[in-house]
């Protein structure tokens, strides 16, 4: 009698399906590993390295050659001069050597003991070099007629040099100085506070403004589509274009906003919106709200339009006023999307770099953690410290993400 129980375990078909799935996913996984995971690991590595912006260029042998002396007639005695130096002032290079071709018609009369000559091929081994070492090598030669005829000069055959140096990035020097440096600086806690202010108010503000806009457009009338498109403009336009438009609008000397306020008598002096201490932080937060309210608006509107209208009719019959309907019917329905949006926007606002960088460059008390990465790495030229700040950011994000993953599994899917 045949066995009628269903097959157990993974059959060959299921295995083939899984293999195909991994095959289809592998390009993505590889690309993401290369551009996301690898750099993240690199950040941890760099953060414990004493590396500066200048260290990115590995020390190398700089070589120049020329001919010294008169070389007009055959028989003249001249020197081929090689000038070499170590490009780095603080890194040694080991095993330095160079190779060159002596042009035809030049007769080498005497050779430095470190060099060998085979046919026309010159090879010199110069050993290990101290940082910043300079060296000049003279090779006396006699001019032959062939040299004058063929017109080939020593410089025409470029000399190739070799030498190995250890880069700070790959050697085994480690330091915790980057971390002590960023944690002990006075600014660090100000940076944290600014980040917190910007993130919390930017997120909550964008949500509330988005909610208001969604309430406005949650009815059908002519031109609703146009208005909806219009209200998305701030989000769709290139960040650099709108950031500069704001800067010009709020310019302290020739900005329209100041001219308007002066004319209306609101202030008597021009206000430096993006340059004064508490005001600049408020302005970048307002900019953040302005730029990202469309996103919350779009999601909230989509959710609102999927709420059943019967409920509102029933509430109307029972005599609930519009505000009561909003508070007791709409808000509970929207709570899911609002909390998901809050979490997502919280993390993205925390990660935001371009906006503040373009508006204030992190000056006037607007330096957030992300701007601090750039500031440390490129303005102070200390890549290691920048990476250390990035590690701090990553730590914060990991905390948020754990919270987020735990939360989103219970929330309606986004």
């Amino acid at each position: 009698m045949a066995d009628l129980s269903p097959p157990s375990g993974t059959g060959p078909l299921a295995k083939r399906e899984a293999r195909l799935a991994w095959g289809l996913l592998s390009p993505t996984i590889m690309a993401v590993a290369l551009v996301v995971v690898l750099p993240l690991l690199a950040i941890f590595w760099i953060s414990v390295k004493p590396v500066e912006l200048g260290d990115l260029r590995a020390p190398e042998v700089v070589l120049r050659e020329d001919l010294r002396g008169d070389s007009d007639v055959a028989g003249d005695e001249v020197n081929i001069r090689y000038r070499l130096r170590n490009s780095s002032q603080d890194q040694p290079i080991s095993g330095v050597s160079f190779a060159d071709q002596i042009p035809e018609g030049l007769q080498v009369t005497e050779l430095d003991e470190r060099c060998t000559l085979e046919g026309r091929d010159l090879r010199c081994d110069l050993g290990d070099w101290e940082p910043g070492l300079r060296e000049t090598l003279m090779i006396p030669v006699v001019i032959g007629q062939a040299y004058l005829d063929n017109g080939l000069r020593p410089q025409d055959s470029p000399a190739s040099s070799t030498g190995t140096s250890s880069s700070v990035l790959t050697n085994s020097t480690f330091t915790l100085e980057n971390f002590t440096r960023i944690f002990s600086s006075d600014e660090f806690f100000e940076v944290l506070w600014v980040t917190l202010f910007y993130t919390v108010f930017g997120t909550v503000g964008a949500l509330l403004v988005g909610l208001f806009a969604a309430l406005l457009l949650n009815k059908s009338f002519r031109g609703q589509g146009i208005l909806r498109g219009l209200y998305l403009f701030p989000y769709v336009a290139p960040i650099i274009a709108v950031a500069f438009a704001w800067l010009i609008l709020f310019d302290p000397f020739s900005g329209s906003a100041n001219a308007l306020l002066l004319q209306m008598g609101v202030t008597s002096d021009a206000i430096n919106f993006f340059g004064e201490r508490p005001l600049a932080l408020i302005m970048v937060t307002v900019f953040e709200i302005w730029r990202y309210f469309p996103l919350s608006f779009l999601f909230i509107l989509a959710r609102m339009q999927s709420i059943d209208t019967d409920m509102y009719e029933a509430a109307d019959m029972d005599g609930a006023s519009p505000f009561q309907q909003f508070w007791y019917l709409s808000v509970p329905q929207l709570l899911g999307i609002l909390s998901v949006l809050f979490l997502l926007r919280f993390i993205w606002t925390f990660n935001k770099f371009d906006d503040i960088f373009l508006l204030t460059g992190g000056n006037a008390g607007t330096r957030t953690l992300t701007v601090n990465v750039y500031e440390q790495a490129f303005a102070v030229s200390n890549i290691g410290a920048g990476a250390a700040v990035a590690v701090v950011i990553f730590g914060c994000l990991l905390t948020f993400s754990l919270f987020f993953l735990k939360y989103i599994s219970r929330e309606e899917g986004l």
């Binding site: 399906e17 390009p27 208005l227 960040i239």
Partner: protein, 401 residues
């Protein structure tokens, strides 16, 4: 508060303040002349107007009376909006009539259900909501339009005009083609033609590469059963929680050391990876919604999985592909940080990087604004033309900010 003779004047007064600020700002921006709202007069006349509407009803005659009265008050100089002495005759009359018309036309519908006596909760809240709605439309339209208006108008002016009166955005049409001088200079002297081409080329390539990676990946996550499927579809979300600046630093180092900095291919390698997770997430949501039966029928008829994807799934998901492409195009077109860090050679600049290079004290700022307009207009046109795809795409993917 819920009495008609109280609600009417209060809402009327507040509404008049909103209107006078709006009209004053609009007139200032349009003419450059001095218009300013007077809060005190606005409150007073608004209250009177609101009271009149509640007391006398909402017929045509009351509306006309309000129009004439408000316009006359503005012209006399004790109205809700004050005008400077040097303002010309035509803007004066125009502003006054605009003020009167705006108030007369809008206050009657706002106070539609308000009667002098006791109000029900419904009537009262209805009026408050209509007031807030009107305020909301004005507020949002203003905050969205003003920056773009300033951007476009600044690009059409010249340095001395800008400094003379920063408020004057009126355009002298008689100048003709001279108006577009900054644009002309951008394309002839600042190489913006190349930047435009570079941006376009890089964005299109990014879209193509992103789709090539994301479509198979999304299909696998949505349709095929394998261990770790659930974990995978969730961890995609995690990837776009990583801030760009954290990745940009090691990428900068790696590119500097390998000589990929300042090259087209370096940028084209990085951009798609920043968009693949979003695209994959959006597409897998859409693929899940497609009926599996059609694909199974294809499999039964002897098509391989890849042929099913190519012949059945993709044609069915063209709308989703369109919105994903648009969205990816937008990200690549607007990208600033990586272009700024990785490109130094002016012949390889993208538009955003090119605009950043215009931000110096030696280059007049109408050039900066003209550059911004050049970068904004294509994406706006694309967006408005395909708005429905775009909104759908944005909501479907929960989207990166």
């Amino acid at each position: 508060m819920r009495r008609g003779f109280l609600t009417g004047p209060v809402i009327g007064a507040l509404w008049m303040v909103v209107l006078s600020v709006t009209v004053a700002v609009t007139m200032s921006f349009a003419t450059g002349d001095a218009f300013r709202p007077s809060i005190l007069w606005s409150l007073l006349w608004g209250a009177v107007g609101g009271g009149v509407v509640v007391a006398l009803g909402r017929d045509r005659l009351v509306q006309i009376a309000l129009l004439v009265a408000v316009s006359a008050l503005v012209l006399i100089g004790i109205g809700p909006m004050l005008m400077g002495a040097e303002t010309g005759q035509i803007p004066r009359v125009f502003g006054a009539v605009l003020m009167g018309l705006g108030f007369a036309a809008s206050i009657t519908p706002i106070l539609a259900e308000i009667v002098p006596g006791e109000l029900t909760r419904h009537e009262f809240e209805g009026a408050v909501i209509r007031f807030l709605t009107g305020f909301g439309y004005i507020f949002f339209t203003a905050i969205v339009l003003i920056p773009f208006y300033v951007m476009v108008m600044t690009s059409l002016k010249n340095q001395s005009e800008l400094i003379q009166n920063p408020l004057d955005f009126s355009i002298d049409l008689s100048k003709g083609a001279e108006l577009f001088r900054s644009y002309d200079e951008l394309f002839t002297q600042f190489n913006f033609g190349t930047y435009l081409f570079n941006s376009f080329f890089i964005s299109v390539l990014t879209v193509v590469i992103t789709l090539a990676f994301a479509i198979p990946g999304a299909y696998a996550v949505a349709r095929l059963r394998f261990r770790g499927q659930a974990a995978f579809s969730r961890s995609i979300l995690l990837i776009y929680m990583v801030p760009m600046i954290v990745l940009a630093l090691p990428i900068y180092i790696a590119f500097s050391m390998t000589g990929l900095r300042n090259s087209f291919w370096g940028i084209v390698m990085i951009y798609p990876v920043t968009t693949i997770p979003v695209a994959l997430y959006m597409l897998q949501g859409y693929f899940r919604g497609l009926p599996a039966e059609v694909e199974e029928a294809g499999l039964m008829d002897g098509l391989s999985r890849l042929a099913v994807i190519w012949k059945i799934t993709l044609p069915l998901s063209l709308p989703a592909l369109a919105s994903v492409s648009l969205y990816v195009f937008m990200i690549a077109w607007n990208e600033f940080l990586l272009a700024f860090m990785l490109l130094d050679d002016p012949s390889k600049f993208t538009l955003t990087r090119g605009i950043a290079s215009l931000n110096s004290s030696e280059i007049p700022r109408q050039h900066l604004m003209a550059g911004s307009v050049v970068a904004t207009v294509p994406i706006m046109a694309l967006f408005l033309g395909l708005e429905r795809f775009m909104t759908k795409g944005l909501t479907a993917g929960s989207v990166k900010g």
